[in-house]
Each structure stands twice: as C-alpha cells, then as structure tokens.
C-alpha cells in the first residue's frame, strides 16, 4: 500500500499553471478595478446632479415665494391707492352735497 501511495503522490504532483493565466488574472482584475472606478464616478455624478437639482429647486422655490410676496405687496399698494382715491372722491361729493344743501336753505 505504501508503494501505491508513493506512486499516487508522484502522479498527483502539482501541475504548473498555464503561463498566460497570471496575465489574464491581472487583466481581469484591472478591468474590474476600472469598472468599479467608473461605477463610483457615475454614482458621484448622479449624486452631484441630484444635489444640484435639490439646490436649484430650493433657489427657484425661494424666488417664486419672493415674487409672490412682491406681487402681493404691489396689489396691496394698488388697493390702498384705490381706497385713497375713493375716499377722496366721497369727501368731494360729501362737500358738494353739503354746499348744495346750504344753497337750498
């Protein structure tokens, strides 16, 4: 049995790997590293775009709020002017009616 085991051990000595194997492994590793780098770049780009969209949306929303406030203020001023004009007209009419009443007396 020992002789047989010795023969078996000899028969099962390690075989040298094909000479091209290491090169292929190194190339595959480089390809994967490049692909991982590309994936990280895409992730960063996507994150940057998302951040830019959020910031842009925020700025646009603030601008919109400011514009609405400005328009509201302008409308308020117009109403106040209209009220002043109306008040002035009513005063004039009141004065004229009072003068007309005095004239009839």
């Amino acid at each position: 049995m020992q002789e047989f085991e010795r023969e078996l051990r000899q028969a099962l000595e390690r075989r040298p790997a094909p000479p091209s194997l290491k090169g292929r492994i190194v190339q595959a590793r480089q390809r994967r590293a490049q692909s991982a780098r590309r994936w990280v770049l895409w992730q960063r780009l996507a994150a940057s775009l998302a951040l830019a969209a959020v910031l842009g949306g925020g700025v646009e929303w603030q601008r919109h709020v400011r514009e609405e406030r400005r328009q509201g203020e302008a409308a308020r001023q117009q109403v106040l002017i209209a009220l002043r004009i109306t008040g002035h007209a009513l005063n004039q009419m009141n004065t004229q009616l009072a003068a007309h009443g005095r004239a009839q007396e």
């Binding site: 049995m1 492994i25 590793r29």
Partner: protein
C-alpha cells in the same frame, strides 16, 4: 487582532496559481474549465483580500474556494447532462498531460473515475499533502467522513489500478532482469 502580514495579490497569484489550477484540473478534468475556475478563484480572492490575515490563511482560503468552485462547476455540468471525463476521453480523445511514469498517468486517469467526494479527499491528501483534519476543514466536512472517503477512495483506486500495477511490476521486473 493586529497582524503585520500584508497581502500582495500578484505575489499570491505567483505562489498559488499552480496549486489552484491543479486542484481544479484534477477535480474537473477540463483544462479550459480549470483555467476559468482558477481565474475566478483569484478574482474572489481579490474581493476578499482585506479579510486574509496570514500567508497560511491565504493558502487555506484558496484551497477551500478552489474545491468549492470545482464542485460547483461539476454540478453545473451534471445538470447540463455532460460528463466531462467521458466526454474528454470518448469524444475528443483528450488526455491529461502525462505525469512522469505510465503508472502515474493511469492512476491519474483512474482517479478521475472515482466518486467526487473520494476524488476530492484523495487530491487534497496526495496532491496537497494535507492531513484528514486539514482536508475536513477545507471541505467543511466531518473528519470521520473524510477518513472514510480516503479509505474507500484509496481502496477503490487500488482495486482499479491492480491490473495495471501488475503489468507495471512485471515490466519493471523484466527490465531489471535484462
């Protein structure tokens, strides 16, 4: 735990490519597939390089993954209905590269006909010179099972090789007589 050993991927490939390739070749019997498995195993090592703590750990890890990937490849081939060894010998007439002696060649061919668990145990025992305990750790199997596979595999291989061995001894005796 802190450790000083630094894994150098290319150095590990240099040191262990013959081992990984030989394990895959002897388990699958297909040179092309063995190369694919070896490449796959080292890519897996690259992904797990940070977890490798020592040179011995790297060697153990590579052996375990090489055996497991080879078993997976054999399972996939079986599912597809292909028996590699039968295909190699009957359809293409391909033989493994011959070892030094004709008996060695025959033993290697006969080893390929053994059931997969026995073949795995014998390859690890006689190619890698591992103890049954180390084989059990590599194959993640109980030591008793490994010992049984080793015994039965060796017995079966010996029985299969008996005829050829007798021939070999006869030729040897003739040669020494001359």
């Amino acid at each position: 735990m802190a450790h000083d050993w630094q894994a150098d991927f290319e150095q590990l490939v240099d040191e262990h490519q013959a081992m990984v390739f030989s394990l895959a070749l002897r388990m699958t019997g297909d040179r092309g597939l063995a190369e694919e498995i070896a490449q796959d195993v080292f890519m897996e090592l690259d992904r797990n390089l940070a977890r490798i703590e020592t040179a011995d750990h790297a060697c153990f890890w590579l052996r375990r993954v090489a055996m497991s990937r080879s078993a997976d490849a054999l399972r996939r081939r079986r599912v597809r209905g292909l028996d590699l060894w039968v295909e190699m010998e009957d359809r293409h007439g391909i033989r493994l590269e011959p070892p030094a002696s004709p008996l060695g060649t025959r033993l290697e061919q006969l080893l390929a006909t053994l059931p997969e668990p026995q073949r795995a145990a014998l390859v690890l025992r006689y190619q890698e010179d591992l103890t049954p305990e180390e084989i059990a750790a590599t194959l993640q199997a109980p030591v008793a099972t490994v010992k049984s596979h080793l015994q039965r595999g060796l017995k079966l291989l010996r029985a299969k090789a008996m005829h050829h061995l007798k021939e070999f001894v006869r030729v040897k005796e003739q040669a020494s007589g001359d």
